[in-house]
């Protein structure tokens, strides 16, 4: 297993945001997570990427226990992430944003990293913006930059946090194509999303979270057909 989470628990005082959570992801598998706001989805990403440490349980990546490994160590181990609200380095150019990931996440020299960064920018449709300051990008471009930058760090698992939110239908369709391509190149994907139709176009398996607990897991269509899942999603997903 690439990612192996067992008995994960996180509480802030009396508030439990992840409760006895298990999840495994195989290499180049794509798994989606849905759940209402406050279900603990982003907290889960922070636990995996290292921004938070769990109250109990363990996370293994490629057989290695991640306890005590700081965020930069997890990036170097092969976990890349995007943020729900894009966090570009605004006074660096788009290309320099990617270089940060390639140089520090992958240990390459700037010269060695240039070719792969150029190719990623090309693949994600950002090549014409390569020398633009990241602060000048549109929302769609910022979301693409989030992915491009994470890819530049050479991940084997990519965590996508509501990457399709706020985009138009057309933009969303483009994004789905890009994510499929990334997956084809052998990167495993764990994707949190409210835009369920985008998610279903990519993933092999769906997990439903509610109040920090996993309430359903399985083939996407079967999970979406379950009445308890539909109940939680009334008003959110038609």
């Amino acid at each position: 297993m690439l990612l192996d989470i067992a008995g994960l628990r996180k509480s802030f005082g009396a508030i439990v945001v992840a409760d006895d959570f298990d999840l495994t992801i195989a290499p180049s598998e794509a798994v989606g997570i849905i759940g209402p706001n406050g279900a603990g989805k982003t907290t889960l990403f922070n636990l995996i990427a290292g921004g938070l440490s769990p109250s109990a349980g363990r996370i293994r990546f490629d057989g290695r226990d991640l306890a005590g490994v700081p965020p930069q160590g997890r990036c170097r181990a092969g976990i890349g992430r995007t943020h729900q609200i894009p966090q570009p380095f605004e006074n660096l150019t788009v290309f320099e944003n990617l270089l940060v990931g390639a140089v520090h996440g992958r240990g390459k020299s700037e010269r060695e990293a240039t070719q792969s960064c150029g190719e990623i920018l090309d693949q994600l449709g950002l090549i014409k913006r390569a020398n633009t300051l990241a602060g000048a990008l549109t929302l769609l471009e910022r979301k693409r930059l989030e992915m491009a930058r994470a890819l530049a760090s050479g991940p084997r698992l990519l965590l996508l946090d509501e990457i399709a939110g706020g985009l138009t239908e057309g933009e969303c369709a483009e994004l789905v194509t890009t994510i499929r391509d990334i997956r084809k190149s052998g990167v495993a994907i764990l994707w949190i999303e409210h835009v369920v139709h985008a998610l279903l176009a990519v993933i092999d398996r769906l997990v439903v979270l509610n109040f920090g607990r996993k309430i359903a897991e399985g083939a996407p269509k079967e999970v979406m057909a379950r009445s308890d899942v539909r109940q939680i999603y009334i008003g959110i997903e038609a």
């Binding site: 990427a49 290292g50 921004g51 700081p70 965020p71 930069q72 997890r74 990036c75 170097r76 890349g80 992430r81 943020h83 966090q87 570009p88 380095f89 605004e90 006074n91 660096l92 150019t93 290309f95 320099e96 944003n97 270089l99 940060v100 990931g101 140089v103 520090h104 996440g105 992958r106 020299s109 700037e110 010269r111 240039t114 070719q115 792969s116 960064c117 150029g118 190719e119 990623i120 920018l121 090309d122 693949q123 090549i127 014409k128 913006r129 390569a130 020398n131 930058r149 994470a150 890819l151 760090s153 190149s185």
Partner: protein, 360 residues
């Protein structure tokens, strides 16, 4: 990862310098030549003024690297100015070391003491870090006020033997046909110029390196930098220790030129930190050009407005507030933003080698 399906494989490379920065490099070389030769035809007042300008500019470069890039807003850099000055006095007066050797000595001592200082202040964040650095600087001041061989609370002076023992003084005297005090100023001027150039080259090389890339990322968005593999704590510590060493050497040089030191002056938060913050903020924080522009503006204001007494400080404060409100990226930021200028080419530009009209 393969590029698009139909396009042939493109090759990419990095380019750093552009036409403006190449012209700027030629102009900078010419300016440097003029500055080196300046003592031949400039008066002693101008030489003394320029010494002041050079070390303020160099101190501002150091503070900018620390605060503007590494996000470490220190208001305690006077700790290292004073420390450098006192180490120079101790090494020359008590140890009998040549002043020219005492300057790098001060840098080494400052770096060595920056490590334990960092252990204390790095536990603090944001405003607490700022206050912590100030408190540490006060501790340094109080400690040096206890050292009787260095004059205790009232301070002490360098003996003429020490100040005249800077190598080259005799040579300068014959070359420019001047007396010893003027020759000392010229020697200090060259030293200040050399240290300023060294600081600029150092900061530039750091920003061009992989650490510079990380510093830019930390400046813009610290949490995202960590999730891209940047070891934030290590880079911050390196920036803190390196700027402490540079600041310590500058402090040694400043007090070699002043030839008199006291704890209150050497550890003055106004002279060595408040003015330096002013310079960096009005020039443009987080850019290498900003402190250069800021120091020149500060020098001109000091030169022409200092006679107005309190009004001078009020004007200084007003200008600082106006810039912070209306040009938060400083005066250089205004110019650079409008015309896309860079004098020091720290940008890494991606160039596509294939003529398909798809150039970035």
């Amino acid at each position: 990862m393969e590029a698009g399906t139909t396009t042939p494989k493109r090759s990419y490379r990095i380019e750093t310098a552009d036409r403006v920065s190449r012209t700027a490099a030629v102009l900078a070389a010419l300016l440097l030549l003029v500055l080196v030769l300046l003592p031949g035809f400039a008066g002693r007042n101008l030489i003394q003024d320029l010494i002041f300008l050079f070390y303020m500019m160099a101190l501002a470069q150091c503070w900018n690297l620390l605060a503007g890039y590494a996000g470490l807003i220190s208001v305690g850099q006077q700790a290292f100015v004073g420390l450098g000055g006192y180490v120079l006095f101790a090494l020359t007066l008590i140890g009998g070391v040549n002043p020219l050797l005492a300057v790098p000595g001060a840098g080494i001592v400052a770096a060595a003491l920056a490590l334990p200082t960092a252990l204390i202040v790095f536990r603090l964040r944001g405003a607490y870090f700022a206050i912590g650095t100030w408190v540490v600087a006060e501790v340094y001041r109080l400690v040096f006020a206890q050292v009787k061989p260095l004059g205790g609370g009232t301070g002490t002076s360098l003996t003429p033997t020490v100040t005249s023992s800077v190598p080259g003084i005799e040579w300068i005297k014959t070359l420019f046909d001047v007396r010893t005090p003027a020759a000392r100023d010229i020697a200090s001027y060259w030293l200040a110029l050399a240290l300023l150039v060294a600081t600029l080259v150092f900061v530039y090389l750091v920003l061009r390196s992989r650490r510079g890339l990380a510093l830019g990322a930390i400046r813009d968005r610290e949490s995202a930098a960590a999730s891209l593999g940047v070891d934030i704590d290590r880079i911050k510590l390196a920036a803190y220790v390196a700027t402490a060493a540079m600041t310590g050497m500058l402090g040694a040089l400043i007090y070699l030129q002043k030839a008199r030191i006291s704890p209150d002056a050497a550890f003055s938060v106004l002279d060595w930190t408040a003015y330096v913050i002013f310079i960096t903020v009005i020039g443009g924080i987080g850019t290498i050009e900003g402190p250069v522009i800021g120091a020149i503006i500060f020098y001109l204001m000091q030169r022409y407005l200092a006679d107005f007494g309190a009004w001078y400080l009020i004007l200084l404060g007003t200008l600082g507030i106006l810039v912070m409100l209306f040009a938060p990226r400083g005066l250089w930021g205004l110019v650079a933003g409008r015309y896309g200028l860079t004098l020091f080419p720290t940008r890494r530009r991606l160039v596509v080698d294939e003529d398909d009209g798809n150039r970035p």
